[in-house]
């Protein structure tokens, strides 16, 4: 039996810069029971078998919590009802079939290839504008200057959320993203904070959706909010709100890490940076390898509905299960020289976008954004060097990435 505190060490912020040695130790026991009764799944084979196991549920988000107000009507009737409604209509990453499938179908009908392709030109323009703004400086703060504003602008435009409101939901997005972090979601204060934030952003979305129904535009939210008709069922209002929130938060909190981790990796491998600069056609392979090597999302949690036998271990019904995607993508049993950044590797079946029915719906968009951002950065930043290695990290162990990435430059072309 391995060390049953390894996952707690993964969560420890001190290990944020380099969790990979811990993952290596976890993989010695592919499905490893932790002291708190959860099971961490860390090898490629075990993750692969579990993402297609029908007994693994995503409905593991602890119920929402609202603090007592002293008003009995509110504490005993209204808030409990509200809790139940919110729990029943969680965002689809916390839902199982068949509801998950219905909601995802709605999203995918709006998140069309045509829409994603259209954003290509917009991404290219935005990246250039953001880099232009750094002219005359000798340091770029990549997260603030590009990795964060780019995906935010893109998702806002796609959804049809006014970018002017960004300041307001920036903080909401950060707080809601902690719902993916085990320590925040199990902490009483953390849960209350997630709930309060969800309420606030729900009110915002409700108003916005009303507006979209009054004046539909050519954006995803208008499409999702469209009333049913011609045999097409309309998405229920509460599901619509939680779906819109999910898309907005996901657009805020994931691609930022892909771009930042990607640039960090290139700066640590200057030869690869140079090759990408000379040959931008390498970008798709470079991005896939980044998704394997330094993915934006390291793990997702699930719950076993039935007893599951996997890798010689029985996960009892009811157990929390942690699918450690970032470890599976570094599994030497699956990838030769797994800890080496090698864009030329073939057969790169990583879990950078998760897998199974919850596979990232925004993957094509994220690939476009990362590709254009990194190719342009390589081309336009003159003599980029890392300021701090390792950089400071954001708190999340699941949504893991630098808080900021200082890059010194000799100019911008």
């Amino acid at each position: 039996m391995g060390d049953d505190t390894l996952f707690a060490q993964v969560l420890d912020p001190r290990n944020r810069p380099d969790p990979y040695p811990l993952y290596g130790r976890l993989r010695e026991t592919p499905v490893s029971r932790q002291a708190d009764g959860s099971f961490v799944v860390s090898t490629h084979a075990a993750v692969r078998s579990l993402i297609f196991d029908p007994r693994l549920s995503s409905e593991d988000l602890p119920p929402s919590r609202r603090p007592p107000t002293g008003n009995p009507l509110r504490d005993w009737i209204l808030n409990p009802i509200r809790n139940r409604v919110v729990n029943a209509h969680r965002p689809l990453i916390f839902r199982d079939p068949p509801d998950h499938d219905t909601l995802r179908d709605f999203v995918m009908k709006e998140f069309t290839i045509a829409r994603v392709r259209e954003s290509h030109a917009k991404v290219a323009r935005l990246v250039d504008t953001l880099i232009d703004a750094c002219r005359g400086r000798d340091t770029v703060c990549l997260v603030d200057d590009l990795s964060y504003p780019l995906p935010v602008a893109v998702i806002c435009e796609l959804l049809g959320v006014p970018e002017a409101d960004e300041a307001q939901f920036h903080a909401w997005a950060i707080r809601l993203a902690t719902a993916l972090e085990p320590d925040a979601r199990h902490d009483e204060a953390g849960r209350r904070e997630i709930t309060a934030t969800f309420d606030a952003i729900s009110d915002y979305m409700r108003r916005l959706i009303r507006e979209k129904r009054r004046r539909p535009a050519d954006d995803m939210l208008s499409g999702l909010a469209a009333r049913g008709g011609q045999g097409r069922p309309a998405m229920g209002d509460i599901d619509l709100i939680s779906t819109a929130i999910l898309l907005l938060v996901a657009g805020h909190e994931t691609t930022v890490n892909l771009i930042t981790n990607g640039m960090l990796t290139l700066l640590r491998h200057p030869d690869e940076l140079e090759r990408l600069k000379v040959d931008p056609a390498r970008a798709p392979r470079v991005i896939e390898e980044m998704l394997r090597y330094e993915p934006p999302v390291h793990f997702r949690t699930r719950k076993a509905l039935g007893a599951i036998d996997v890798a010689g271990v029985t996960i009892p019904a009811g157990s929390p299960v942690i699918l450690l995607f970032a470890s599976a993508s570094r599994d030497p049993a699956r990838f030769a020289d797994a800890d080496r950044f090698d864009p030329d590797r073939r057969d790169n079946q990583h879990f950078g976008f998760g897998g199974g029915l919850h596979y990232c719906a925004g993957a094509p968009l994220a690939r476009i954004e990362a590709e254009i951002a990194l190719v342009t950065l390589c081309r336009r930043l003159v003599a980029p060097r890392l300021l701090d290695d390792p950089p400071p990290y954001r708190p999340g162990a699941s949504l893991r990435g630098p808080k900021n990435l200082g890059i010194t430059i000799a100019g911008i072309t």
Binding site: S49, F52, D53, P54, R55, L56, S57, D96, P97, P98, D101, A304, L305, G306, A307, A317, G356, L357
Partner: protein
Amino acid sequence: MIGVQRPGIVVVGASLAGLRGAEALRDGGYDGPLTIVGDEPHRPYDRPPLSKHVLAGELAPEATELPQLRSLRARWRLGQPAVALDRERRVVRLADGATLPYETLLIATGARARTWPGEGADLAGIFTIRTVEDARSLRNALAQRPGRVLVVGAGLIGCEAASCCRDLGLDVTLVDPNPTPLARLLGTVIGGTLAGRMRDAGVDIRMNTKIHSFSGEKGGVRRAHLPGGATIATDLVIVALGATRETGWLAAAGLRADAGGLTCDAACRAMTLAGELDPAIYAAGDVARWPNPLTGNRPMTVEHWGNAVDQARHAAANMLARPSEQPPYGHLPAFWSSQFGLNIKLVGLTEGADALAVVQGARASQRFLAVYGRAGRSVAAVSFDQARWLPAYAEAVAAGSAFPPILGATDQPRIEWLEPGFPVPRRSTDQAAPTLEAAHG
């Protein structure tokens, strides 16, 4: 030319199994002469699209050519059916009289579509779907927008053809002697769900119905006659009555070969009439009848795409191995079908199943996964638009897990045991052993 060249390996059959078998021989290090014989003039092509995209006009017939996964350095003898096998002299005779000597032979001649056996077979407008030429002529005829299409046989090919014709906006009648479509393959409970889907799609389905004969005008088919005297008006008939194994050329070879297949042992080695193995002859794909451990080693053919690939590769590996190092072929049959907007997949063998349980989703929503049980074990699983979960159930079926397997799945209804409702087996007249009917994909 060198006067004396060793004869090397001959592959008879230039379809999926023949091609993948030949590739596997090269992959396995075989460097000698390799000859591939095919009765059709075409390079190997893929059949599943023929009853789907080709009929729909979405894919040109010639675009179905299979990609070659490696360089074969083979001598192709296409458009030349093998007509006889002389095991004594180790030669294959071709239709043009040529003889091909072999050291080792891989038989992958597949199957041919059963044609209309009754009266009216010579009328124009009656089609089968097996070869690329079949599909081409049928596609051309459908493009002329016949008023009424009659599909005879509600197996996989018949159902897919009916689906394509409905998508083309044609009036379709589907006739089958069983109570539901796919009844022999999936049972009447699941077949009934599909029947509902077909009715919603506007197919005139006539189950428990047999066609007696066809009659026509000016040489073209116009009417189907039922045994009681009733008729069905039609302008185009698609006969989808399954296939017979292509073994006619083996009639005098002294092998256990008949319309039901060529019997081989678990290692894919052909069996002689005396019940011995011919160490130089192997078989794979639709034509091979092999003892399947899933059915207590009763010999059977499996006419699925995946079996053609896997068995050909297995046979090729054994052909290159010493006699003592030729492992048995273990295979979990599986197929897929797309029809009426549904993705249907099956793993395992439903034959003889005595229980059925919907374990995820619901039949009412036409999105579900159901498991078949036999004597308390899980023997097969079928999915309607739920294929993502199938690998987990395939594992349970392969392991012979208790029925029903996988308790506590998401979207699991209250599990009810149902009778799968298989029709009473019809007496086979033309095959020595049971066969999975009209199955592919």
